[in-house]
Each structure stands twice: as C-alpha cells, then as structure tokens.
C-alpha cells in the first residue's frame, strides 16, 4: 500500500472520520457558526430586521460569526478572585466533552459490503443485527442507551461549573438546570424506550434499517423526544436556566472570552447530538442511501432539526421553571406512558 493509500485508510477510518472530521469536531465547529448565524438571520427575518450583514454582504453576513469567534478567542479570560482557577477553567471543557462524547457511538450510516469508500472497514464495524457495517466511532450493540446515558452526564457539569464560579445567579441557574434535567431526562429515556420496545432493539442502526420511520410508527414519542430535546439543550421556550432577564446568563454568568464560547457551545453541541439521535430514530436516518451519502443525509436531517429548534426563539417566550416542571411531570409524563403503550402495541401488531 502506498503512502497516500495509507493516509486515506487512516483518515477515512470511521472512528477517526466520524469523531474528528464529519460530523465530528471540524464539522461541529463550522456547524456551530452556521447555526448561530441561522438563528440570528431567521430571528431577524421574523423581527423586521436584517441581522448580520456588513461583515460579508454577499454571503449574508456569515463572516460576522467568524469575526465574533476570533474576537472571543483573543479576548481576555477574566478569572474571579474567589474561585478555584483549575476548576473554573476545567468545568466548561468537561461540559463540552460530556455533551460531545456521544457522537462516538451514534450510528450514522451503514457500510455496504462493496462499492463504498468505507467498504474496507466492513468487517471491523460489522453489525450482526442488520448484516452490514455501521459508520460510527465505536460500534456498540446498545448504542441507543449509551448515547442517552453519556449525554445525561452533561447537567452534572453545568452544576459543577456554576458551583465553581461562586456566583449567586449561576447557582440559581444551576438549581433550575438540575430541576429540569431530572424531568426532561425521564421523558427522553421513556420516549426512546418506547421506540426500543417498538422495534425490539436498542441498536439505532436496526431501528433505521427496519424500513418504517419512527415518526410514523410512534408520533407521540417523536413529539416527546423533541420537547425534551428543547428542554435539555436550553432552547426556547425552555430557556429557563439561562434566562437572560432573570439570571443574566444563568450558570455561565462569570465566564468571559474563550471559556464563555465553550459554555455557549455546550448547549448547541448537546442539541446537535440529540438532533442526530432524533434524525436516526424518528426521521429514518440515512435510509434510502448508504455509505458516505447516507452519512451526509443523516447529518442533514439532524441539521434541519437543529435549525428548527433554534428557530423557536423567534416564536416563544420562556416558561417559568415551575411551569416547565409541572408541564413535564403532569402532562408529558402520562404522555410518555401512553407512548410506551403505543410502542408496545405497534411493536406487537405491526413491527415484528
């Protein structure tokens, strides 16, 4: 094998390609900029404004975000006197890692035995359930469960972050985040459990390759997952822990410069991971395609879900924390049970 072929082999190796290049670190960084640009542009459209414009008139002002990012990276990081500097700097990093980690185990496409650039890895990422290879950082049989388990660690780091900054607004925001995380994680898990029961598997790849999109098989679970996703990633109308006019920016109040970018990125990355799961489980993932085009299709669907979630900003105000809690325990939890039963029934009758 020549050197180029070797390089190609390692770059395209799914564990590297998925986690670092696409849709991993490099793509996520770009996506972050595009998402915030879209959020600002779409809101501006609704709100009779133009939004970012002057930084690059032909590109619709997208370079404004690059300029913002450069500015943030080079601005001073102010560390308050009374904090532990190690924890203070480490907490946002850990938070972003926790929110980003699940991307390693989400199946994003299948590898056909031949004909795809990924076909050489067919055996290494072989999934016996669907009799094909899977493009994922690491193939695990129970990836549906693992994704949610890793992602649910994220709020713990939010609390750590708020605690280490020693700010009252941050602590109030962290307490709100704690309350919310307890309620949305339950709904998130129950709606995915409904899908697992329905498709008789905890493997996302098998759910996708069944041939019936989850949103058709169990629309209730899809709705619940979407709402819980909005809660979990602090999107409107559940922008409760960061409520700007109440808590400045909630847990992230004390941060500045690049660490602030990391704290902001945490919720967007978390939203993107949930959107990837949503695209896979409910929107049929890569379905008619496979290989690299399938990967692109899955990510495209996830990006649309992400954009839709960010668009909520221009439609809704924010709920109060007690209203969100009451809503999720009083109305969404019974709905989650209903979706479980629906999943069981449909799984027994239709999907075998």
């Amino acid at each position: 094998m020549d050197i180029l072929g070797l390089l190609r082999f390692y770059i395209l190796y799914p564990s590297f390609f998925v986690t670092v290049i696409f849709p991993g670190l490099v793509f996520t960084l770009l996506l972050l900029l595009v998402t915030i640009w879209f959020e600002r542009k779409a809101a501006a459209r609704v709100q009779m404004r133009i939004g970012p414009y002057y930084a690059s008139k032909r590109l619709g002002g997208i370079l404004q975000l690059v300029a913002d990012a450069v500015k943030f990276v080079f601005s001073e990081i102010i560390i308050p006197n009374e904090v532990n500097p190690t924890l203070y700097a480490l907490a946002p990093v850990l938070m972003v890692i926790a929110s980003f980690l699940p991307i390693a185990v989400i199946p994003l496409s299948v590898i056909p035995p031949s004909g795809s650039v990924f076909s050489i890895y067919f055996k290494d990422f072989y999934d016996p359930d669907i009799n094909a290879g899977v493009i994922a950082g690491l193939f695990v049989n129970y990836n549906l469960l693992l994704v949610l388990a890793i992602e649910s660690v994220y709020p713990i780091f939010v609390v750590l972050l708020a605690w280490s900054t020693n700010n009252r607004f941050a602590v109030v925001g962290a307490v709100r985040e704690t309350y919310l995380s307890v309620s949305y994680d339950v709904i998130l898990l129950m709606s995915t459990l409904a899908m697992a029961l329905e498709y008789h598997t905890l493997d996302i790849a098998k759910i996708v390759s069944y041939g019936i999109p989850g949103i058709v098989a169990n629309p209730l679970a899809a709705f619940l997952f979407f709402v819980a996703m909005l809660m979990g990633s602090s999107r409107f109308p559940f922008d409760i822990s960061e409520a700007e006019t109440e808590l400045v920016i909630g847990p992230y109040t004390e941060y500045s410069g690049f660490l602030f970018v990391l704290t902001m990125a945490g919720s967007y990355v978390g939203n993107f991971i949930y959107a990837l799961v949503f695209a896979d489980v409910f929107l049929w993932g890569w379905y008619p395609l496979s290989g690299f085009p399938g990967l692109v299709l899955t990510v495209l669907k996830a990006v649309i879900v992400l954009f839709f979630a960010t668009f909520m900003r221009s439609v809704y105000a924010r709920y109060r924390v007690d209203q969100a809690l009451r809503g999720s325990w009083k109305y969404l939890l019974p709905l989650a049970f209903a979706s479980l039963i629906l999943g069981m029934v449909v799984g027994y009758v239709w999907i075998r």
Partner: protein, 405 residues
C-alpha cells in the same frame, strides 16, 4: 397529610431535612432585567420574600433644577424624565403655566395637542410591550415593539421636528401646524398599525407561553389598587374606571369619542390587554382628529400678535411654524399656583407649580405615574416567584427614569 407523611418517613429512618434556602439577590443596576435601578430581592427558595426597589440611580433633580430656570427653559427639562412619553410631560407642565398666566388656547391647537399626545401614547405603549416581551424572553415582541414604534416616532418627527424630546407644546398653543403630508402619513400609519395589531395578537397575546407567564401573575384587586395608589392602565386593569381624559378632560378630549378599556382581573395579562386596547382607541381618536380638526390659528392671539410681521410671513405663512415671540424670553407671570393633571401613557401625571412673580418658578412638583408604581411593584412582587419579578415589572410598564425624575 404532610405531617403524617413526615412521621412515616421518620419512623422508617428516611427523614428528610428541609433546609430553608434563603438569600439575597442583588439585581441591577447593571443587569439585563433591572432597568436603571437596583432591586434587592430577598428569596426563600424560588419565592420572593421581600423586594427593595433601590430607586434613584438616574435621579436628575428635575424639581430642584426647575427653581433655577425660567419658565420656557423648563419645557425641555421636564420632558427628560420620560423621553419616550415627552408630549405628555410637556403638556402637563404647559397647562400649569397657562393656568398661571391665564391664557386661552385656540381650538386647533387643542386638537393638535391631543393628536401629538395620542401618537405619543401609541409609541409609548409599543415601547412598554416590547420591554415586557424581552423580559419574558420573547425577542420578537421586543423588536416589533421598537420597530412599529418607529412609525409613530416618524410622525412625531414630521410634526414637531424631533423624534423624542419634542418640546412641541408651548404656553398658548403649539409650535407647528399639521400639514397634508403628515395627515397622509398618519392615515397610512393607522392602516399599518391595525394590520400589525392582528399579528401582535397572534404572536404575542395568544401565545401560550406569554399567557402562562402573565395570567394570574401579580394580581392586584380593586381595593388594593386604590390603596396602593396605582394609576393609569394598571389601575384600569384592576377594574377601576379612572382616566383623567374622561374625569377631568383637557385638550380636545371632551369633543372626541373614545372608550376607556377596563378589565377586572387585575393580573399582568389584563394590564397588557388594557394597553393593547388603548392603542386601538388611540387609533380611533387619531382618525377623528384628522377628520374634525378645525381651521384656525395654533397660538393664542395674545402671543401671535407679538411676532414681527416679516418673520410671521416667512415662517408662519411659508412653513406653518410659530416663531417664538419675545415675550417668552423671560416672562414674569403673576403670583399664583396651579395644579394640572394629564393622563400620560403610564397613568395620571400631576404638576404643581407655584409662581412668586419672578421669572423662575418658586416650586415645581411633578408626581409621575412610575413614581406611584414603586409601591405597587414592591407589594405585588412579595410572595411571587423570582421569575415573576420581570413579568410584574414589565406588565406594570414601570420606567425608572420617570420615577426618579
């Protein structure tokens, strides 16, 4: 029930220690949701135990400064506390001066005063709704409020020459006349606003999140509203029919046909609804004013005669503008005192002016509507949730500079 549950838990060795979480939050004055003041919030968990509104952050000593300026120079000063509502601030003061110097105002000027006041009322209410929107996290309402306000600010600019601090009303009349171009623009603005109010209802008033945040929040009963001294839309939202425009009509209001929206719920949603309907009523009044405005002079003859004929020809006949006659430079009104009330956008605005015969007032007292809301806001916030603080604040349309003066 709770006692029994606690007993069960204790007997089984699973007793829960409920630790009261008390603390103070220092909201403002540099905070996205505090405005120009500091709010000391004493919290018990999520419940507000006490609120201390530390007002005075933008205090400008308008009343004291008023004793050191002559009467005309005071006009721009009294507008400053509420620049978004400057026509009303101006109107109340000028009415007090007119009472002391005893001058009649021509009919056309009265109509123009009402016209400017209602345009300003719409602009001010849209501002308030925008602030309420962003307090609740609804950025669209914020941008729409400020965007739609621009339409009305533009009309004020055409009429008076300034966007916000207009200084339009002078003792004896107003400074500029209504031109056909302004009438045309106002008609367009009325049509636009009617259309836009429908959109406002869809995205703001009927929005489930807005309803959840405003309904049954900051409820003020009729008795409490009177006891705490609430004024304006906040009082009317608690079921009290009180509006200076009806009780003690001034300017052209006796001749205009309009209604006073009154709600009996007394919560934040009712207050928001009252503002919406007042905007609709103001649109109605503007239509009437445009149709019924009589021809004539816009300044009292007593002052009009003093304008030199050459300047009169150039400015009044050429541009329909008043050139201030020399009388205004530093007139000495007779001894006396006057009290006037006007219905400003946020409620009753009271001026008390004492003249000792010199060129400067002996005492100028202004009781602004926001000043009266300090007590209301403090009482309403007690016992509500922390997140409701901004919702009460926004729904009262409290404006700190106006309260501080």
């Amino acid at each position: 029930m709770t006692n029994r549950l606690e007993d069960v838990l204790e007997n089984s060795g699973m007793a829960v220690d409920i630790v009261p979480v008390e603390g103070e939050l220092n909201v403002g004055p540099q905070h996205p949701g505090s405005g120009h003041m500091r709010i000391l919030v004493k919290l018990n968990g999520d419940i507000i135990e006490d609120v201390d509104l530390d007002v005075g952050y933008v205090h400008r000593a308008v009343e004291k400064l008023g004793e050191n300026r002559n009467y005309m120079h005071l006009i721009p000063l009294v507008e400053r506390p509420a620049i978004l509502d400057s026509i009303h601030m101006n109107l109340g003061y000028v009415m007090a001066v007119e009472k002391i110097i005893n001058v009649d105002v021509p009919e056309r000027a009265q109509y123009l005063r009402s016209f400017a006041a209602e345009v300003n009322r719409i602009a001010s209410h849209l501002y308030g709704l925008g602030i309420l929107g962003i307090f609740l996290g609804h950025s669209t309402a914020f941008m729409w409020g400020f965007g739609d306000r621009e339409v009305w600010v533009h009309i004020l600019e055409m009429l008076t020459g300034a966007r916000v601090t207009n200084s339009y009303i002078i003792p004896g009349g107003v400074r500029r006349d209504l031109t056909p171009a302004i009438i045309e623009e106002t008609k367009k603005a009325i049509t636009y606003m009617r259309k836009k109010l429908e959109d406002w209802k869809k995205i703001f008033l009927y929005n489930p999140t807005i309803r959840a945040r405003l309904e049954n929040v900051g409820v003020m009963t009729k008795e409490k509203a009177i006891e705490w001294g609430a004024v304006g839309p906040n009082l009317r939202a608690s079921g009290v029919y009180y509006d200076v425009r009806k009780i003690e009509p001034y300017a052209a209001y006796p001749k205009l046909d309009f209604e006073i929206p009154v709600y009996k719920e007394g919560d934040g949603y009712a207050r928001t609804m009252v503002r919406f309907e007042e905007v609709e009523q103001s649109l109605r009044m503007l239509e009437q004013i445009i149709k019924e405005i009589p021809e004539g002079n816009i300044l009292s003859d007593r002052f009009f005669k003093q304008i030199p004929p050459t300047r009169l020809k150039k400015w009044w006949e050429g541009y329909r503008r008043i050139v201030l006659p020399g009388y205004y430079a530093s007139f000495r009104p007779p001894k006396g005192e006057a009290v006037t009330r006007v219905e400003a956008a946020r409620g009753e605005l009271l001026y008390y002016l004492v003249s000792d015969g010199s060129a400067k007032p002996y005492r100028l007292r202004m009781v602004t509507p926001s000043y009266r809301l300090i007590n209301v806001m403090r009482n309403l916030a007690k016992g509500s949730r922390f997140a409701d603080l901004v919702s009460i604040y926004g729904s009262l349309d409290y404006f700190p500079p106006e309260a501080d003066r």
